[in-house]
């Protein structure tokens, strides 16, 4: 209600909160590029509702209080009409009371903590595949086709990854697989203790979930430790394909995003992004790009920036995004297919697609 007059202005204002400083800025800066890229493309095509789109960008440093402050400023001072962000689930959590209070839609295709989505916040639209959802979709298939008897998880100690470890451990043991859970703190350089432990336990499959940077380091040390078992992760980071090609040969993925997924939306996105930044995108970049796709599509259909109308339009989303096809339920939770894939000889290929049936 506080920005009822904003409609009259000649611009559509969208607030973007990403970690632009600190360790998380590795992802934050690339995500910001994707958001800028699609906005520039839409503006070049004449914008939306006859108006140009202007991004208001703030650094939330992936921290709760900083992200909340940024949102407070974007909403009340800059008068943005929709929000994208803020990467880490704890950071996004700081945004939720604010969007609820000012009734501004927050579209998020990245944050994975399902507790956020379960809050019943009318203005939070979350549509990445939650870890629990992926686990439900992919674990039975993986256990069967990879013949898993004894597994271990190795994750970085960060919000989404810890949750991943938990839900996978539960899902796997429900199917009679013996599992041990392992996590390491952010910034770990030396993995030798974990690897020694794993070697002793000798699991046949290792489920890993960590940032692309730690991943390269971990995978190299894993290789050096002489590990011969199978490897499973959620998403393939392009950095792994480039820098740890030898180490991840044969690795499986229960993926949200697959670079080579052959859809027009994804092809355009991947090529544009590569052209713009010289790097291939991965899941979190795709997640923010998808958020923008969803938001722009809803604005077009709503024909107005009036919040209530925008909300209705978002809920009715039914479109192709980079990661598949998306629909929302009445609570603003969305999803798409999970793609079981394998990396072999330098290329990733989808082995099997498991359809989304709800969270």
């Amino acid at each position: 209600p506080s920005n009822g007059t904003a409609d009259a202005s000649d611009k559509i204002l969208i607030g973007v909160i990403e970690p632009l400083s600190g360790p998380e800025s590795y992802d934050g800066l690339r995500m910001l590029e994707a958001v800028k890229m699609i906005t520039e493309q839409v503006n070049a095509d004449g914008g939306l509702l006859g108006k140009q789109i202007e991004l208001k960008i703030e650094d939330g440093a992936a921290k709760t209080a900083e992200s909340a402050s940024a949102a407070e400023k974007l909403v009340t001072k800059d008068k943005v009409q929709a929000l994208i962000g803020a990467y880490a689930s704890t950071a996004t959590a700081g945004l939720l009371p604010i969007v609820a209070k000012y009734e501004i839609p927050l579209v998020n295709g990245v944050s994975q903590d399902e507790k956020l989505a379960l809050q019943g916040n009318k203005w939070y639209f979350s549509f990445t595949l939650m870890n629990s959802t992926i686990a439900k979709m992919a674990i039975p298939e993986l256990v069967k086709s990879l013949n898993i008897k004894k597994a271990a998880t190795v994750v970085i100690n960060s919000d989404a990854e810890i949750e991943y470890s938990d839900v996978y451990a539960k899902g796997l043991s429900a199917l009679g697989v013996e599992v041990s859970q392992n996590s390491f703190p952010e910034g770990t350089q030396d993995f030798s203790s974990i690897l020694t432990k794993i070697k002793e336990e000798a699991p046949d499959t290792l489920f890993i979930n960590m940032g692309s940077n730690e991943g390269v380091n971990f995978l190299k040390q894993l290789y050096q430790s002489g590990y011969k078992g199978k490897l499973v992760a959620s998403d393939l980071y392009q950095q792994w394909a480039d820098e740890a090609t030898k180490e991840i040969d044969g690795m499986y993925f229960a993926a949200r995003y697959v670079l080579t997924q052959d859809t027009p939306v994804n092809k355009k996105f991947a090529e544009d992004f590569k052209a713009r930044t010289g790097k291939y995108p991965d899941d979190s970049v795709a997640g923010d790009y998808d958020s923008m796709l969803v938001l722009f599509d809803a604005i077009k259909r709503a024909g107005t920036m009036e919040p209530q109308a925008l909300r209705e339009a978002i809920l009715k989303t039914d479109m192709d995004i980079t990661r598949g096809h998306i629909k929302f339920d009445a609570n603003g939770r969305g999803g798409f297919d999970c793609k079981i894939s394998q990396f072999k000889n330098g290329n990733i290929a989808i082995i099997k697609t498991i359809p989304f049936t709800g969270v």
Partner: protein
């Protein structure tokens, strides 16, 4: 048993790096009474410089290691010249302000590298084989052996220098009392500069070894610094020999905790050790002289 011996070996490797980090920190504290909160940033800076020299400019690994560390030593001298200004503020104030200044410095260095070089992680290519070799039941790599050998020989050389050489004695004298050191003809400012340079040089070598054994990233200095503090406290502030023993001890204890308890608590171990040591033996485990 196999796992235990492997964990102890792992602890020795990382402990060797701790020796280089903490050895530098402890002599800077000893000579200048500065707790250098930017010490970890020199570690990171050394690794980044070596990365540029070795990976980008294709220098030989050892040449790059030496050059980068000398450069970091020179940067250390500049920093020392600035911190020198706090000298006339009285003793407690001096400790207080040099800590704050180095906290500021560490923020400047780490975040600037993060912006300029980007937050991604890299590995320094040493060209030395990293393939697993079995030594009995333990898996080692050539590089890890090199790390242990380097750390121990460098600290042995430096320890002997400090104990017996004329300059080493002058350094220890400056530790204790600047006016008195000046009164016997020691050029205190030179000693301070040399100390800071050596301390920074040592930690830079540690950073480079870690960077080619594992990886480098802009904020790698922060945890490293806290580790170095733990080692220095274990060994006694200002005691180089203590740093060597403390480094090995922390490395091994961490590895064992990680292996048998929980990897997540590995880093908490060092902090709990600090508190325990200071509760029961504030002068450090290996320090004979109590203050």
């Amino acid at each position: 048993m196999v796992e235990l011996s492997q964990q102890i070996f792992n602890g020795l490797v990382i402990g060797s790096v701790y020796i280089l980090m903490a050895g530098g920190l402890t002599i800077i504290f000893g000579v200048m009474n500065i707790v250098n909160f930017a010490h970890g940033e020199f570690y990171m800076l050394g690794a980044y410089l070596a990365y540029v020299l070795i990976n980008v400019l294709n220098l030989n690994f050892f040449a790059g290691l030496l050059m980068a560390s000398v450069l970091v030593g020179l940067i250390g001298i500049i920093v020392e010249r600035i911190l020198d200004h706090f000298g006339d503020r009285g003793e407690t104030e001096y400790v207080y302000y040099t800590i704050l200044a180095t906290v500021g410095l560490s923020m400047i260095i780490a975040n600037t590298v993060n912006v300029v070089a980007g937050p991604s992680q890299h590995q320094i290519i040493s060209g030395i084989a990293t393939d697993p070799i079995m030594v009995g039941p333990i898996i080692v790599t050539q590089f890890k052996i090199l790390v242990i050998v380097m750390a121990f020989s460098i600290s042995a050389i430096f320890g002997l220098f400090l104990k017996y050489s004329r300059y080493g004695k002058a350094m220890r004298a400056t530790f204790e009392n600047k006016e008195a050191a000046a009164s016997v003809g020691i050029k205190v400012s030179t000693i301070n500069m040399v100390t800071f340079a050596i301390g920074s040089f040592l930690v830079s070598i540690g950073g480079i070894l870690v960077g080619s054994m594992f990886n480098i990233y802009p904020f790698m200095g922060i945890t490293a610094n806290l580790k170095a503090f733990a080692v220095v406290i274990l060994g006694g502030l200002g005691s180089f020999g203590g740093a060597v023993l403390g480094g090995i001890m922390l490395g091994v204890i961490e590895s064992i905790t990680a292996g048998y308890l929980n990897v997540g608590y590995k880093d908490a171990v060092s902090f709990i050790l600090i508190i325990l040591v200071l509760m029961f033996k504030p002068s450090g485990l290996f320090n004979k002289i109590s203050k």
